[in-house]
């Protein structure tokens, strides 16, 4: 049985008479150690899906089994990287990164050492004593990444983790994540708008339809692992890219039609 089994998931947001169907009969199964990238037009329910999976938001219909048991609430087995970072403004950078370990009851020296290691990984050692309000958007995002990696969850739920980064940093972080995954073999659900990023990192790319979110397409990425950065230049890679882009394009157009 798969690690994660989502069947016919429904989610409706209601306020008064207004109801927005965010997710419509969505099914997905994810194997232990699999890296799944999720792409889809803006507003199609990707963040909502991760929030439900994280146990933060209830769902309206369907089932969601993790290790064969229904998801009841949040837990440290699923590390969530929020699209909006959710860093604590009253804690310094190092305090934010060490927070997950603090909750786990690790001794102070150990959690500071671990936090410093992950800060170094995201290239922000020099800012360990700064407050989040003193960081740029991309720097905040990297702190949030360090924070979620630091408490070493088995499953990573990442909501556009590199969305606020410049192109060069983004590529470096992708390679970094790729290396981390190669080593830890964590299960990852990775939401992104960047097709290249999705193909480079993932074993499988899931394409969401325009809202209400359903599965439009699933594309298995057979690129050899470990992947080097120059895999992006191969013909095989370009073929996947075209494949995903064709699938996504129709949905993005549909979503834009709806906003008009």
């Amino acid at each position: 049985m798969a690690l994660l089994e989502v069947r016919e998931l429904d989610k409706v947001f209601r306020r008064g008479a207004r109801a927005v169907q965010a997710i419509d009969r969505f099914s997905l199964s994810v194997e232990e150690g699999e890296f799944v990238a999720i792409v889809g037009p803006s507003g199609c329910g990707k963040s909502t899906f991760l929030h439900i999976l994280g146990g933060f938001e209830p769902h309206d219909g369907g089932t969601m089994l993790l290790n064969g048991a229904p998801v009841r609430g949040p837990g440290p087995d699923r590390g969530m990287l929020f699209q909006e970072f959710a860093l604590y403004p009253w804690r310094s950078v190092i305090g934010n990164v060490a927070w997950g370990l603090e909750v786990q009851g690790k001794p102070k020296a150990e959690r500071i050492a671990a936090a410093e290691r992950y800060l170094k990984l995201v290239g922000l050692s020099a800012f360990r004593d700064a407050y989040p309000a003193e960081l740029s958007g991309g720097m905040k995002q990297r702190v949030a990444l360090a924070r979620v990696l630091a408490f070493e969850p088995r499953i990573l739920l990442m909501d556009e983790p590199f969305g606020a980064l410049d192109a060069q940093t983004r590529e470096l972080m992708q390679e970094e994540l790729n290396a981390i995954w190669q080593e830890t073999r964590n299960t990852v659900l990775f939401v992104t708008h960047d097709i290249d990023e999705a193909i480079y990192l993932a074993d499988r790319v899931v394409v969401f339809t325009a809202r209400p979110g359903r599965i439009k397409d699933e594309i298995r990425i057979g690129l050899e692992r470990p992947r080097r950065a120059d895999v992006r230049k191969s013909a095989e890679y370009m073929a996947y890219r075209n494949r995903v882009w064709d699938s996504l394009r129709a949905e993005v157009l549909k979503a834009r039609e709806e906003f008009k």
Binding site: F56, P74, R78, Y88, P89, W90, Y131, P132
Partner: protein
């Protein structure tokens, strides 16, 4: 940017900022002193120099300190109890809907009532000593701290709570390490309003029924037309109020180190 605009945007030095704040009070004092010496002013406008002399005299005799001490005891006693209850109940109501529903009608109904009106009732119940006055001050301080703490806790970004629960934090830890610090700016705003109210209500209580304290001093001075004495008491109230407020602002700056950054409004 032009040189002039740059100069305007440059922050004032510390000394200049302090000087700027002193301009208005000093000008008013000088104008007052001059008009008291030169012109014909009514007897209740005692010259600042005379007020200063009386204040000095009363400080030396220990009388002013006597009254200040009893007043402070009452104000701070009520402030501590009212503030602690307000914060605890406000935060609790902010995180638990039923608690909010429970308190809401009573709070809305009693908030606009001037707390001083219950003094006679409390005197009948607790006697004319300190307890009844402290009780009225407690009530006055409770409301602003309760309401601010309530909205502080209600306004906490849900992602802060989610991310804590994600890491496995239980309700107690979420409360102490997330709700409390996130709501702290608002809690402190409530405490600041509460402090001013504590002094106002303290004086009101002492003017109405007391044999000691700064409010008592004011009312007896007025009755005996000793306006210099009255001003000395007012100056004492102003000074302790000011000191308390500055202390709170200092605490606030220390406690909100990370949260105040980039949020200083139009003053930059």
């Amino acid at each position: 940017m032009s040189a002039a605009a740059q100069r305007r945007a440059a922050p004032l030095s510390r000394a200049r900022r302090t000087a700027l704040g002193l301009v208005l009070p000093l000008a008013a004092l000088i104008a007052w002193e001059l008009s008291a010496r030169i012109g014909e002013v009514p007897s209740y406008l005692v010259a600042p120099s005379a007020i200063f002399a009386t204040t000095w005299e009363m400080l030396a005799s220990g009388e002013l300190w006597q009254h200040t001490r009893v007043s402070l005891l009452r104000a701070l006693g009520g402030y501590a109890i009212g503030g602690a209850c307000g914060i605890a109940m406000g935060l609790l109501a902010g995180i638990a809907r039923p608690v909010e529903r429970f308190y809401d009608p009573v709070v809305s109904l009693t908030y606009p009532v001037p707390k001083i009106v219950v003094l006679p009732i409390l005197i009948a119940w607790l006697g004319a000593g300190d307890a009844s006055k402290i009780a009225v001050i407690t009530a006055a301080v409770f409301y602003p701290t309760f309401i601010n703490s309530l909205y502080g806790a209600k306004g906490v970004n849900r992602l802060y709570v989610w991310s804590a629960r994600n890491m496995g934090a239980g309700p107690l830890r979420v409360f102490a390490k997330v709700i409390l610090p996130a709501a702290l700016p608002q809690v402190l705003a409530g405490l600041r309003i509460g402090l001013a109210l504590a002094f106002i209500v303290m004086v009101a209580c002492e003017m109405q029924n007391s044999r000691s304290g700064l409010g008592h001093l004011i009312i007896t001075a007025e009755d005996s037309l000793r306006f210099d004495l009255m001003y000395a008491a007012i100056v004492a109230i102003a000074i302790i109020g000011f000191a308390g407020d500055r202390l709170l602002l200092w605490l606030r700056r220390r406690a909100l180190a990370g949260q105040a950054i980039g949020k200083e409004g139009a003053h930059g």
